[in-house]
């Protein structure tokens, strides 16, 4: 095992081992548990940064484990996986801080943090997967690792949500498995590669390959919450706030979106998809999901549900970017949104959790004048919300700008219209919240004021959203700098001939 392989394995183990130890720890040892979590996530971030540097300078990271002829597990670090691992590991650290503050004094914490670490391990596995079999392995494991988190509260409602989640996720997984085997039966075993499979298969199996593409997209579309496969997501909102933050920003939904990226760029490849002519279909589904999610978000009074529908809408920007795979600018926009949406959405969920945890606020109508009580939280919320609408200089603007340019360059005027309409809808459902919070007067006492202290809320709950909100601003301001997500995405796209 060379040093590169060791690095890949230790990136996975840096959250897996703390997770296993946490399972075995007694409930009351919360100091040790917190220490383990922090050590794990800091080690992971450092290792990921080392790997990123290696990838940037052209080092190859690869580890193979053959199972049966034609089936092997492959972990590999390429620029695309580096993007997702970096996002997951950074947000894991912040979410851990947040979760430690959030779950103070609640039961079953060792159970929670154990699955939490497993969940991150599996997400990193998805990022590092180098072929469809490995991707499938971690994709199914993700369902298993997140299920206990979704039903963490153990109430009737959360169990129902969990059942629904499993039905959707495993059905998607089964479809995905069938599609993967079928694809392999036609094109043979293949790793993710910048060119996709050879176009000669299209002449012999064109329609079957199109059908398999649709099956694959359905398989990952369940987790990416493409309409009509989105039913599980709003229900899964019963989970505790750190879980929602993680599910929406990093783990589940992102894994689905990342799967779409892999299938489009690395399995089929741009030229095959253009020949097959299925891209307009993907565009249509993505565009419909964007508009539909926003319209439904408008109708929600529950803050977390509104954010959930907003996720459905926003994640489809990634799919939209992939559906214009012949346009380099659109691909950049879609890929960079993978990171940008994560940053913005996690901020929003942190803030929603703060409101619920500090003042008992769950509904938007209860938020009047809340900015005076919790100015910092609401400032972070506002930055992220403005980002979602796409106002410069936040990161949301950067994504939409590239997507818009891409659709113009490809001559897809109607997609630009979709983008504009979606921005208007975003404004429509986020601006009233901001107006309520900042400019309205408080009406009566807060529903349930749980915390009164030196700061507006517990410090561990306050810092993570401020940090992510800062990144939302900063990464937008210095989008052209060497270390911004955008720069890395440009580096990724250089590897493809688009």
């Amino acid at each position: 095992m060379n040093s590169g392989q060791l690095l890949l394995v230790s990136i996975l183990l840096s959250s897996f081992i703390p997770g296993i130890i946490i399972f075995c720890l007694p409930e009351e040892k919360h100091r040790l548990r917190t220490l383990l979590n922090f050590c794990g996530s800091i080690v992971k971030i450092s290792l990921v940064l080392v790997m990123n540097a290696g990838i940037y300078y052209g080092h190859v990271f690869e580890i193979r484990l053959p199972l049966i002829p034609g089936v092997e597990l492959l972990l590999s670090g390429d620029p695309l996986s580096a993007l997702f691992t970096t996002l997951s590991s950074v947000l894991w650290l912040l979410t851990t801080v947040y979760a430690v503050g959030y779950l103070e004094d609640s039961p079953n914490r060792s159970h929670f943090f154990g699955y939490f670490s497993l969940c991150v391990t599996v997400t990193i596995g998805i990022a590092l997967a180098g072929n469809l079999v490995t991707f499938l392995l971690f994709y199914e494991m993700l369902t298993l690792a997140t299920y206990p988190l979704v039903i963490h509260r153990g109430t009737e409602k959360s169990l129902r949500a969990g059942r629904n989640y499993l039905m959707y996720a495993f059905s998607g997984g089964a479809v995905f498995l069938v599609a993967v085997v079928w694809l392999q039966a036609i094109v043979g075993p293949m790793d993710f590669s910048a060119s996709g499979f050879s176009p000669m298969y299209l002449t012999s199996h064109g329609s079957v390959l199109t059908f398999i593409f649709i099956l694959l997209i359905i398989g990952v579309g369940v987790k990416a919450a493409l309409v009509p496969l989105h039913g599980w997501l709003p229900q899964a909102m019963v989970a505790p706030a750190p879980v929602s933050a993680l599910l929406h920003a990093v783990a589940v939904v992102k894994a689905g979106a990342f799967g779409i990226v892999r299938i489009v760029l690395d399995v089929y490849g741009a030229h095959n998809l253009l020949l097959m002519g299925v891209l307009p279909l993907l565009s249509a589904v993505a565009a419909f999901t964007i508009i539909y999610g926003s319209v439904l978000a408008l109708q929600q009074d529950d803050l977390k549900r509104r954010l959930a529908y907003s996720t459905i809408s926003q994640v489809s920007y990634i799919a939209l970017g992939m559906s214009m795979v012949d346009q380099q600018l659109a691909v950049i926009g879609g890929l960079v949104h993978l990171v940008h949406q994560g940053l913005m959405k996690i901020t929003l969920f942190f803030c929603a959790g703060n409101l619920a945890e500090t003042l008992g606020i769950h509904r938007i109508s209860e938020m009047r004048g809340v900015a005076r009580r919790m100015p910092l939280t609401m400032a972070a919320f506002s930055i992220a919300a403005l980002g979602m609408i796409g106002i410069p200089p936040t990161v949301g603007f950067v994504s939409k700008w590239y997507l818009g340019l891409g659709s113009l360059a490809g001559g897809n005027w109607w997609l630009l219209v979709v983008l504009v309409v979606s921005s208007l809808l975003n404004a429509w459902y986020f601006l009233p919240i901001l107006i309520y919070a900042w400019f309205d007067k408080q009406q009566g006492p807060w529903p349930e004021e749980l915390y009164v202290g030196r700061f507006e809320t517990r410090l561990m709950l306050l810092v993570p959203p401020l940090v992510t909100a800062f990144i939302v601003m900063a990464a937008g301001l210095v989008a052209n700098a060497q270390i911004s997500p955008l720069a890395w995405v440009r580096f990724i796209v250089r590897g493809y001939t688009l």
Binding site: L65, I68, L137, T155, E156, L177
Partner: protein, 505 residues
């Protein structure tokens, strides 16, 4: 060619448990120690046999130096050894688990007396059953196989009756009758085969079985007899009550090992001896029955109100996968068919044992196993529930379990042969398994309202760890599949040559 004295080791998996069974019967004390020693010894002998086979290739041992067609011979090859390994590993785990089971709350005098009586019969019968199983996997002639089948039947049925409840007595009586009918049908088949070919040795039969009424009749009789014992739908009716009403360690043995033994034999007949005369339509017929079993078993499992019955119906469903391999066998190489079957069997043996052990733990803990009232088990028995989850995941065939590898091969074969409906069956079966596994799981996770009034019953490590370890083995079996494949592919190619060297007609 191997030195003849090495082949002697083949006898030990039969001798060890037989001697242990007799000793357990004679002595009232220390029976567990004897059984444990035999189980451990058996495990190491099997490991050693695998090592030997990897060095010398498949082997035969002629009892008393008599060669077939006169003498009795034992033989090992890849699949047989893996089945032996499955039996040895599960057997060792179940031996430990049974000890924990019988020791549970021994302070309660009523329970102590009952457990003492049950133990008195359990250990010798279990050792006898182990003898039968090992003998079946090793025997190389079809009459010997009949003897081992009978041995299994007469030791399994009393084991199933051990709990002493009316329901279990009724179920085990029926089980005994069915087993005997199955054995007799098998014996009839043997008679027909012997009448037509004049030999009993498996390897010799392989060359002689041709077309003819006698041989076709033999095939039908052997198949029906073994199908009855394997509980393939629609002949499965006896299995759920027998497995679900037995004591937990007994359910483990019956579900994980006994049904596999008759299936293994059936598979040997179809794909070795009768391979030349099997028609595609008969393979398709078996596959269809398998598909029916997958769906029927799963639907019944979903509807059950008791955990043990759910697990028992899940066995009916999982056995179906073994038969779905029949029609797809035409599209994979010979070695691969065996590996599909072996992967399913190994995964199922480990996962199902873990599940029955979990059900047993839940029963010991709560005093019942009604699915609706399993609230809060997760907080009181985290290890047990974790084992249940892992075993369930393996049964569903999620990666990296051994069942995933098998399903992958089945799916590839069905796509390669353009028989898409098998892909639907296989994927659909996994989804149904998900539903029945997680229906129970979600009850485990319910947090009971208010403080739990139940006193916390602590289970001994002997009860908690065997299921967890078995479940983990079944889950990670896929990762060691290269080794499994390597062993499976050892088939006795040089075997016939050796027999002829030994001076044959």
């Amino acid at each position: 060619m191997f030195p003849s004295d090495t082949a002697v080791w083949i006898v030990f998996p039969v001798i060890l448990p037989l001697v242990a069974g007799l000793l357990c019967f004679l002595f009232k004390r220390g029976t567990f120690g004897i059984a444990l020693a035999a189980a451990i010894g058996n495990f190491f002998v099997v490991c050693f046999l695998i090592y030997q086979m990897l060095v010398y290739g498949p082997m035969r041992c002629y009892i008393g130096g008599w060669h077939p067609p006169l003498g009795i011979s034992l033989r090992i090859d890849g699949p047989a050894l893996l089945m032996l390994l499955m039996t040895a590993a599960t057997g060792l785990a179940v031996t430990l688990y049974a000890r924990g089971y019988f020791l549970f709350r021994i302070s309660d005098p009523l329970r102590a007396r009952r457990h003492k009586r049950q133990q008195y019969y359990f250990w010798p019968l279990w050792m006898l059953l182990l003898t039968g199983l090992n003998g079946l996997f090793l025997s190389a002639d079809i009459f010997n196989l009949y003897v081992t089948l009978e041995l299994i039947a007469v030791s399994a049925a009393p084991l199933a009756a051990l709990s002493g409840k009316p329901a279990s007595l009724r179920a085990s009586y029926r089980y005994l009758l069915i087993s005997l009918i199955g054995s007799l049908t098998y014996l009839l088949g043997v008679v027909f085969l012997y009448r037509s070919c004049g030999v009993l040795d498996l390897a010799l039969l392989q060359n002689l079985a041709g077309d003819g009424l006698g041989i076709s009749t033999a095939l039908v009789l052997l198949t029906v007899g073994l199908m009855l014992k394997t509980a393939l739908v629609p002949l499965h009716f006896w299995l759920p009550p027998a497995h679900a009403n037995a004591l937990a360690p007994v359910s483990v043995i019956l579900s994980a090992l006994v049904v596999k033994a008759s299936f293994y034999l059936l598979f040997r007949f179809w794909f070795e001896i009768f391979a030349p005369i099997i028609s595609p339509s008969s393979l398709n017929f078996m596959g269809t029955l398998g598909a029916l079993a997958i769906f029927w078993g799963a639907i019944q499992a979903m509807r059950q109100q008791r955990l043990k019955l759910m697990v028992a119906y899940s066995t009916v469903s999982q056995l179906g996968y073994l038969f779905v391999a029949f029609p797809l066998s035409m599209f994979v190489d010979g070695g691969q068919v065996w590996s599909i079957v072996v992967f399913i069997a190994l995964t199922h043996a480990c996962a199902k044992s873990a599940m029955f052990m979990v059900a047993g733990n839940v029963y010991l803990h709560l005093g019942h196993d009604r699915i609706k009232s399993l609230k809060g088990v997760r907080s009181s028995q985290p290890i047990t529930v974790f084992a249940y989850g892992i075993a369930g995941v393996s049964l569903m065939g999620l990666p990296p379990s051994g069942a995933f590898i098998a399903k992958w091969m089945l799916l590839s074969a069905s796509f390669a042969s353009l028989q898409y409906w098998w892909a639907v069956v296989i994927a659909g079966g996994s989804l149904l398994a998900m539903i029945y596994v997680f229906r129970v799981m979600s009850h485990f996770f319910v947090i009971p309202e208010g403080e739990s009034s139940k006193k916390n019953v602590s289970l001994s490590p002997l009860l908690e760890w065997p299921p967890l370890i078995l479940a983990l083995i079944s889950l990670f079996l896929g990762l060691i599949s290269p080794w499994v494949l390597k062993i499976v592919l050892y088939k006795d190619s040089g075997l016939l040559a050796q027999i002829f060297q030994g001076g044959l007609p």
